[in-house]
Symmetry: none
Subunit: 419 residues, 2 copies
């Protein structure tokens, strides 16, 4: 039997927007990996009537309900009450949990107020999920054909409570495994990607293909269900290969997190180093490279040349070139990359210049006019881009950095710069 899950989060702070529902994301990821289908996320505030309504609904349509939040000691923490009532259970005092709470306060040398012991009131007959990361225990029970699991709300507690307490409980419920691979694409839009895949997607049931667009990149997740991982991988392999063939060099990796990660691995593999000269991206290329642990092995450094003065002084770009072509031009992009390569002593350098807005530049270049360039031991190359005339500043910079990394990725993989 296949299971359907509803994640029910209780907390007014979610409805006020003070925090995002990262618990639901974390749980969804974990549950998908267990082969359990999450069909609904619901968020209600600390309001008994609406919480009750949400529980009744969840009970009617899911056979696994996972709640987050509302287990703490304050008076608005109502999850256990509402769930117990919905399944006709009493809350009973659980002495071992009370002991754990008392000793938690002793250990952290904080005074314990009496209301903390409310956290030891748990539905009769439940499995107590000990909380080693905070004070409120979780719990699980089965009633009326529905599995209920209650987890604490703070993400620093919810995550380990799921992985170490709820997961073992759920593993027994899921049958078979779900395995997936994610192909990452750059240089193609979501709709173009989907148009090319539509036929396959409609015909396929196992594995399935799911396209996503994400900050100027595309992802394709291929997911298969099977009895065990080996069989799932066997189902996945031909589809992954087929998609790779279909999109060619636009596929920049499988199960990788970013273009810069791919670039970083390729650099390490080949024993090469990278540098950057950044105008429009203002440090973003360097920042993304150094987000990666161990960046110092492959990344020499960068120059953020936000003014012409810095372009001439530090990158050695002639004033004549700047006067003739303007800072936002292909020759200057190329000279920036070459200059960075030289002064940073890097094997490869990337450069980006462009108009981030809000206004055109003084030469009348539109917002979104961008040049990215690469300089290597073998020469240099410029890609001219028009990233739209009303893009968001942040998005434009992100996309520009993507393009710069794409040039490095293509060079390091022996691919043509365009294709």
């Amino acid at each position: 039997m296949s299971h359907t899950v509803e994640i029910l989060s209780v907390g007014t702070e979610l409805l006020l927007g003070s925090i995002a529902n990262t618990d639901a994301q974390m749980l969804s990821q974990g549950l998908s990996e267990l082969g359990l289908n999450v069909y609904w996320h619901t968020v209600v505030g600390d309001n008994p009537a609406r919480a009750k309504q949400a529980v009744e609904l969840a009970k009617s349509r899911a056979d696994i309900i996972i709640t987050t939040g509302g287990l703490g000691p304050t008076c608005d923490d109502l999850t256990k009450n509402v769930l117990a009532e919905a399944f006709g259970k009493q809350l009973v005092f659980h002495e071992p949990s009370a002991q754990r709470i008392r000793s938690y306060f002793e250990r952290t040398k904080r005074p314990m107020t009496e209301n903390n012991l409310q956290q030891a009131m748990l539905p009769e007959g439940c499995t107590v999920l000990e909380n080693d990361w905070g004070t409120a225990p979780g719990c699980a029970f089965e009633a009326e054909g529905v599995h209920v699991i209650m987890l604490p709300g703070p993400p620093s507690e919810c995550r380990p409570m799921f992985h170490y307490r709820a997961k073992p409980y759920l593993m027994g419920l899921s049958e078979g495994v779900i395995a997936s691979h994610t192909l990452k694409l750059f240089g193609i839009g979501e709709s173009a990607m989907e148009a090319q895949l539509r036929e396959q997607m409609n015909e396929m049931s196992n594995p399935t293909l799911a396209p996503y667009a994400k900050e100027g990149e595309c992802e394709l997740r291929v997911t298969a269900k099977a009895e065990n991982d080996e069989q799932a991988q066997k189902l996945l392999k031909p589809t992954v290969e087929q998609v790779k063939q279909l999109f060619g060099s636009k596929v920049y990796g499988v199960d990788v997190s970013s273009l810069e990660e791919v670039v970083s691995h390729l650099l390490a593999e080949k024993g090469l180093t990278l540098g950057a000269a950044e105008s429009i991206t203002g440090g973003l290329i360097s920042k993304r490279m150094t987000d990666l642990p161990g960046a110092s092995r492959v990344f020499k450094g960068g120059i953020v040349s936000y003014t012409d003065e810095v372009k001439t002084g530090l990158l050695g770009i002639s004033e004549q070139m700047l006067a003739e072509h303007g800072a936002v031009s292909a020759p200057v992009a190329q000279a920036m990359a070459k200059g960075a390569r030289r002064v940073l002593g890097a094997d490869i350098a990337l450069a980006a210049t462009g108009v981030a807005g809000p206004d055109k530049d003084d030469r009348g270049n539109e917002v979104g006019t961008v040049f990215v360039s690469i300089a290597t031991g073998e020469g240099s190359y410029v890609r001219a881009l028009n990233l739209g005339n009303r893009p968001m500043r942040g998005r434009l910079r992100t996309q520009t950095a993507h393009h710069a990394f794409d040039l490095a990725r293509r060079y390091l993989s022996g691919l043509p710069y365009e294709g």
Copy 2:
């Protein structure tokens, strides 16, 4: 009449946990500020039957439904169909939207596939919400006493679409006003802040005080309800003043978005320029400065000196100093700031060096050992930091950049560097 809102997000990627529902957070925040009560968040996948069920439920319990996602060109984008059906409306072709979509593709020089025009199918009689940040238009209509607003899913589109399109529509619906001011603090922890405020917070009902901790900074939101904005401001003013007095120079701004924004304004005000030399932050300081529109007026540029070679070659730090003190040291931090100031020709320069991990550096400095420095026309200063021995890499870098900006903010405001 007071309004109740349900936020309905459509997207399988949310149920798989590929992304967190940050749209719902952003909307909840914005709606709360309008005095609208958000009572439910619901997430369903790209499944017509379940989406329909969710819409029927929302219709029965909320009088404002805001949807996110499912407006795109791909076949699983079904929000408009389901909403139109639930309210007995037809989808009709909206030529101006089709024009906008066509010209978007022309502008960005990408081929347009036919399915993109599906995005121009909109519920009859709706108010079209033009999307200047992507291709899918949003829409709004009122039917059966319920206001429906549909917004695109990608956060980079959803956010501006809410602020510039949906908000004006909603402003007419809320009664009375809610006004708030947000005080931003740096250099104090959330619990210390709360401990100092606890008494006031318990006694207050209008305005209210809400503390938040966010990436190494603290926020205090002061919110008042009143008949009109003038009265609300009158209620807010004494509380804002009181909090400013209580926390002194730790309050770096009211209703500002970030430390770098404050620094940028102060620089512009005084006609001064900034530069940066970055080791541990790897470009983050420059990136954050250049995230701000108009950064070129106050920001000269930066040098990401990720290797000793770049520190000597570009910043003029002597090999002897590096050998004697190591790259992670107060003298090197100071020399980096001075070097950056000189070579970038900036009035003020910031520098950061430290151990970001995952391992100690080769001199045995622990992860989290950080030095930030400022060089000005009047001298230089170093702040030595220990940012904990098990921090996340990204968080450590963010906090380091905060500290650097804090030095600049203090210098530019005539405040002591510590206090």
